[in-house]
């Protein structure tokens, strides 16, 4: 029997074959791969418009073989609303960090979700402002030291970390809301399942969908890549529990 070589893994045709500028160990890249795989497997790429935010994810304007719009800090859900309302046949995805979505863009995400805009948001929560060099985000955990919480975040001074998925799941507009992680192979597979479900919600026209993905920022956390993955289990998940917060009937 002649040995047969079978290809079991290949680059996604949706990801542009150029070098990424993310820091070593950053999980933005893993999330890109998952978004690309889901778009490919659901055959959505040809009609997708990707709305890119301001943050480390801005670099993604060059990373996807998709029609792409770069938007102002926090405003991706409004931009996506404009795209989807003007062209309901398009598949519209926003990809946003936690500073972008949970701080400057809170109004836009809440109201896009509440209107039940038929768009999907990939919400990358790394608990910090990566791009600007490690300032506190609304999602930064209590006790975490950042450039702008040098003594550690204190609830009495900086408020408590905001749980976006729980908050948005109170609204009627969303069809699907889940929180996942990418710090282990099992978690990665779980994230992929959630993204597919969120995309399906949009495909079926059921309403707004969002997947909050707990991500790392080794550079600004001051942790090694491996330590960063462990920190997700030890510190992040206990405050931000994984799971589906909303999944309407028909999904």
């Amino acid at each position: 029997m002649s040995p047969e070589l079978k290809q079991i893994f290949k680059p996604s045709p949706i990801l542009t074959p150029i070098q990424r500028s993310f820091c070593p160990g950053c999980t933005h890249g893993v999330i890109h791969r998952l978004v690309a795989e889901c778009l490919e497997e659901l055959q959505l790429a040809e009609k997708t418009v990707l709305v890119i935010p301001v943050g480390c994810a801005t670099l993604a304007v060059d990373y996807f073989e998709l029609d792409t719009i770069q938007s102002a800090h926090g405003r991706a859900p409004a931009v996506a609303t404009g795209v989807k309302r003007s062209n309901p046949d398009l598949f519209v995805v926003t990809y946003q960090g936690d500073g972008d979505l949970a701080s400057i863009g809170t109004a836009e995400i809440v109201h896009a979700a509440n209107r039940g805009e038929k768009i999907t948001t990939i919400f990358v929560n790394n608990g910090i402002y990566g791009m600007t060099g490690g300032q506190m985000a609304p999602t930064t955990l209590i006790g975490w030291k950042t450039e702008t919480s040098p003594y550690g975040r204190e609830a009495s001074r900086e408020g408590n970390p905001i749980r976006i998925s729980e908050m948005l799941s109170q609204l009627n507009g969303p069809a699907y809301i889940a929180r996942t992680a990418v710090n282990s192979p099992k978690a990665v597979l779980g994230t992929k399942r959630a993204i597919k479900k969120a995309f399906t919600a949009q495909m079926k026209g059921l309403g707004f969908s969002l997947v909050e993905i707990l991500s790392t920022c080794p550079t600004n956390w001051g942790f090694s890549p491996v330590q960063s993955l462990k920190r997700i289990d030890e510190e992040t998940i206990p405050y931000y529990p994984l799971g589906e917060f909303k999944a309407v009937e028909g999904l």
């Binding site: 998709l66 770069q70 405003r75 109004a107």
Partner: protein, 356 residues
């Protein structure tokens, strides 16, 4: 079409946009232009269009950005504080070179001000108000019929130059009723093709709508390209009305509502054999510099009086144009007040036009 109907200014804004092929409106309530979004909320569904009341003007301008990126004619209207909130989005739209139409029904300022007519947002519109080197093609009507024409033209210009266009009106034009006629209607099948729009990659090369580039040389090159475009706009798209200005000793310069009042002033003074004329800029950017230069050079011209509903904003562009060749006087009202023709006539008559 072809018949005169009585309509309110803010509603005319809406219908003008629809006649120009606009089927999308994103806006947020603010007086004195509330009738525009209300009109669109009712009217757009009748013509297969979409109206969304945004959660803020910040969201509204970004919805415009998305809709324009996807290749559609889209408009918003607002008034001064709302337009202030839109400035970041407008800068992005100009940077990404997207065609949108904006309407500012200017009201008294600064801050919350009041809902009376004003022209205090001239600088914000023509200099303009957001970050970076860009311009809004800015058109200023003096009555509702002209407003219909300028909204239509704003859509055409925005598409032609891939640049945001602003129609600058005020609380008076927003609220008056006049008999108007919609004599042009865009054939939707003749809308310009937008091969650059984000409509799904669909087996072609990727389209990217962005104002972002980390590479200094590339971003500078884009800026040069935008400035080249602006040079063409300045050459080709200047608009003004010259009303007895050619042989006048005293030339009034005013736009929009004050332009209209000054036109009445010219009629009154001409009947008294007073040599007065009006140069009424219709495009505020590009500004009618050349004609002002030419008028200033004329031996008959003794000087200019600029009248605005502001502390003096357009007057700076008049000064740049006239470049010290003839004296320039200014009269401005603020706070929602509008000068009467008599008020302007009295000022013209008290100025010492001979002595420089």
């Amino acid at each position: 079409m072809g018949e005169k109907i009585l309509m309110k200014g803010a509603e005319v804004l809406g219908e003008s946009a629809i006649k120009a092929g606009c089927r999308l409106f994103f806006g947020y309530p603010i007086t004195p232009q509330n009738e525009a979004p209300s009109y669109m909320a009712k009217r757009l569904p009748e013509v297969g269009g979409v109206f969304v009341q945004a959660e803020s003007e910040v969201a509204a301008i970004n919805m415009l950005y998305g809709a324009a990126a996807s290749g559609h004619r889209v408009m918003t209207s607002s008034s001064s504080p709302g337009i202030s909130l839109m400035q970041e989005g407008i800068s992005y739209i100009a940077g990404a070179q997207l065609p949108v139409v904006l309407v500012n029904v200017m009201r008294g300022g600064p801050g919350l001000g009041n809902i009376g007519p004003a022209q205090g947002d001239y600088f914000q519109s023509v200099k303009p108000g957001g970050n970076g080197d860009y311009h809004l093609i800015t058109l200023a009507p003096m009555n509702l019929q002209e407003q219909i024409d300028l909204i239509y033209d704003a859509f055409e210009l925005a598409d032609e130059y891939r640049n945001p266009a602003m129609v600058l009106t005020d609380g008076l034009l927003g609220q008056i009723m006049e008999a108007v006629e919609f004599h042009r209607e865009k054939d939707l099948s003749s809308l310009p093709a937008k091969p650059w729009a984000t409509t799904g990659i669909n087996h072609r090369k990727k389209n990217l709508i962005s104002s972002f580039d980390l590479d200094y040389d590339r971003l500078e090159a884009i800026n040069h390209q935008i400035q080249d475009k602006y040079r063409i706009v300045k050459e080709k798209e200047v608009r003004y009305e010259s009303y007895f200005a050619d042989d006048a000793e005293v030339i009034l310069v005013a736009y929009g509502t004050t332009g209209r009042i000054c036109k009445a002033v010219v009629d009154i003074l001409r009947s008294e054999k007073y040599s007065v004329g009006l140069l009424r800029p219709i495009s505020l950017w590009p500004f009618p510099e050349k004609i002002l230069q030419q008028l200033a050079q004329k031996s008959t011209t003794k000087g200019f009086l600029v009248v605005e509903l502001s502390a003096g904003q357009m007057v700076e562009d008049v000064k740049i144009s006239v470049n010290g060749v003839k004296p320039i006087h200014f009269h401005g009202r603020m706070g929602g007040n509008v000068p009467s023709p008599k008020e302007i006539i009295d000022i013209i008559k008290t100025i010492q036009w001979e002595g420089k």
